[in-house]
């Protein structure tokens, strides 16, 4: 077994016992990237020199009190890191080198983390397949003809292919959970405001969250311990205390009340997914949890609500890429013409569509009918979750209605692509936390390779602890997380 196949926990234990060094870990990951990334295409930038330097420094310091010290990781390329090209997956920032770092990146650096590089994503995190990257698509390590999911597709593929120990991604409507599900990794979407967004390129500011993609549930808790908390640079991070997320992880789940929302089992979903999730629910019962059927009737309006609000916020956020202060600029003579040409040349199709959609929903005469209406329905969706959580501890549901699809299969039909997010967008609309973890494998109808299936566990605001505990108990009672793709 190579060192890069270890989990964070195992690598940390080895570092403490001096069985190997941080440089050994970094070299193993870099070797794996060299060996496999031509096929997978997870990395936009590999920071080999920086990784080796940081690993050497971690070995020299030899302070492994934080379990992330000396552990190599990758960042989604929408995280700004000082002095390192950070593109957001967009041609408009193809050569952008930020003069500052994201708070989360800074925290990992401070704890002697080892940055292997920046990984691929859908342009400015808009997409569910990684095909909207301005540079190249990433492939699913379980089947190279299929998408890894998105938008954190590079993060999920890199973790699944053991190119890194963990990766940070972002989740606005499923962008951590869907790729985690498609690639068979763990992905944690935190409560809105739990992790600072400072220095991470914005998609929709009232939905965006930052979280880890890892090989195990325990690793996700370990990463969250370091990145969570209030940040004076992000005013949407409430001063809620950060518990030790690993503390109660191993406590059993006897008596835990788990809700199963009936609206998350819809006609048209892949029967293999429904079967795996039902089996997982049975497993929770075996572990002593109490299963209750619940109803979230507004679920069917979540996609419409989500897309109006998110595209509206996106159209405002994207106005900053105007070719004046940073990034790509066209060469027109007048300022107004240069705006038009910079955006026309710099943005890809989904980003342009988002700007158009959002601008329309916010424009005079349509604001009340679209934006305001959706913001009101959002209130009702959030209330519905609050109501359900009065009687239960967490919810379980599928992550996606479909198995990983083939590259090119849905790229020309935006509405079909949006429907891949049907079980993940309601969670961001309500702002609650959710985790995705492997709960089975199945062959798709149009393929012969087994593909991972994800289980989603959804919790109350700022109650990441309970969903991590439920996920840990399930994971330890099953073997799914031990499977590796054949590369």
């Amino acid at each position: 077994m190579s060192l890069n196949n270890l989990t964070i926990k195992e690598a940390h234990d080895g570092l403490k016992k001096k069985e190997f060094s941080s440089v050994d870990l970094a070299k193993a990951c870099l070797e794996q990237i060299k060996k496999t990334d031509e096929k997978i295409k997870a990395f936009i930038t590999v920071t080999e020199d920086i990784a080796l330097k940081q690993a050497e420094a971690a070995d020299k310091k030899a302070d492994f009190s934080n379990p992330l010290a000396g552990i190599p990781f990758a960042l989604k390329d929408c995280f700004c890191v000082q002095g390192i090209k950070s593109t957001g997956g967009s041609k408009i920032l193809a050569n952008y080198i930020p003069p500052f770092s994201a708070t989360s990146a800074e925290k990992l650096e401070k704890e002697s983390g080892v940055l292997l590089g920046k990984v691929n994503l859908d342009e400015f995190t808009m997409g569910s397949s990684c095909e909207n990257s301005g540079f190249f698509p990433t492939k699913n390590p379980w089947d190279l003809e299929r998408v890894p999911g998105g938008s954190s597709g590079g993060s999920a593929a890199a973790v699944a292919a053991d190119q890194c120990f963990y990766s940070l991604g972002t989740d606005t409507g499923g962008s951590i959970r869907e790729p985690a599900s498609f690639c068979g990794t763990v992905g944690l979407k935190v409560t809105y405001g739990r992790v600072s967004r400072y220095g991470v390129m914005s998609y929709a500011s009232s939905f965006d969250t930052i979280g880890p993609l890892t090989k195990t549930v325990e690793d996700a808790a370990i990463v969250l311990n370091t990145i969570a908390g209030h940040d004076s640079k992000d005013s949407t991070t409430p001063p809620v205390a950060v518990p030790d997320y690993t503390f109660d992880l191993k406590k059993d789940i006897k008596g835990l009340k788990i809700g199963v929302p009936k609206e998350y089992f819809v006609k048209g979903m892949d029967p293999a997914i429904e079967k795996s999730v039902q089996e997982a629910i049975k497993k929770f019962e075996d572990l002593g949890a109490k299963i209750v059927e619940v109803s979230l009737p507004l679920t069917k309006y979540a996609i419409a609500t989500y897309y109006i609000l998110v595209k509206s916020e996106a159209s405002a956020n994207l106005a900053r890429y105007d070719g004046v202060r940073y990034g790509f600029s066209a060469t027109a003579d007048s300022l107004s013409q240069n705006y038009l040409e910079t955006k026309a040349q710099g943005f890809g199709p989904e980003v342009k569509r988002s700007i158009m959609m959002g601008t329309y929903a916010l424009s005079a005469g349509y604001y009340d009918a679209y934006y305001l209406k959706a913001a009101k329905v959002r209130t009702l969706i959030k209330r519905e979750f609050d109501q359900v959580f009065k009687d239960i501890d967490c919810l379980v549901a599928p992550v996606t209605p479909m198995l990983p699809f083939k590259l090119g299969e849905k790229v020309d039909d935006p509405l079909q692509m949006y429907l891949a997010d049907i079980f993940t967008v309601p969670i961001n609309t309500a702002g609650v936390p959710a985790i995705s973890l492997p709960c089975g494998f199945a062959k798709p109808q149009n393929g012969d390779k087994e593909l991972p299936i994800g289980l989603q566990i959804i919790g109350k605001h700022f109650d990441e602890k309970t969903i991590l505990r439920a996920a840990y108990n399930y994971e330890q009672a099953t073997e799914w997380h031990k499977r590796k793709p054949n590369l």
Binding site: V324, Y326, S329, L335, Y339, A344, K352, T379, L415, A430
Partner: protein, 97 residues
């Protein structure tokens, strides 16, 4: 109802987004089908419901109105990030024809 070409052009102008003739046609179709899909929200009764933009209950988070220092090096890098710059200034194209 399908958006007209003029409507698409108007939205693109509001967003200062240059789009080609081909894109105008494509957006007419795609935006129309998305708008048709979101029409379903009309079914939800939202009378007397306030809109939500903040899900964790925070409001009006204030910060002291003080300028925080920026070191010389960072300042230089910030200005150097601009496509056109001169000394310590960011250059902008002419506004008047």
């Amino acid at each position: 109802m399908k958006l007209t070409k003029e409507e698409v052009e108007h939205i693109a102008k509001l967003a200062r987004l240059g789009i080609s003739e081909e894109e105008k046609e494509k957006f007419r179709d795609q935006l129309s089908s998305i708008l048709e899909y979101v029409e379903q929200l009309k079914e939800v009764d939202t009378d007397e419901i306030s809109p939500t933009a903040q899900v964790t209950g925070l409001e009006n988070v204030m910060a002291a109105d003080v300028i925080s220092d920026c070191d010389e090096e960072t300042m230089k890098k910030l200005v150097a990030s601009a496509p056109m710059h001169d000394d310590n200034y960011i250059k902008v194209r002419g506004v008047f024809e």
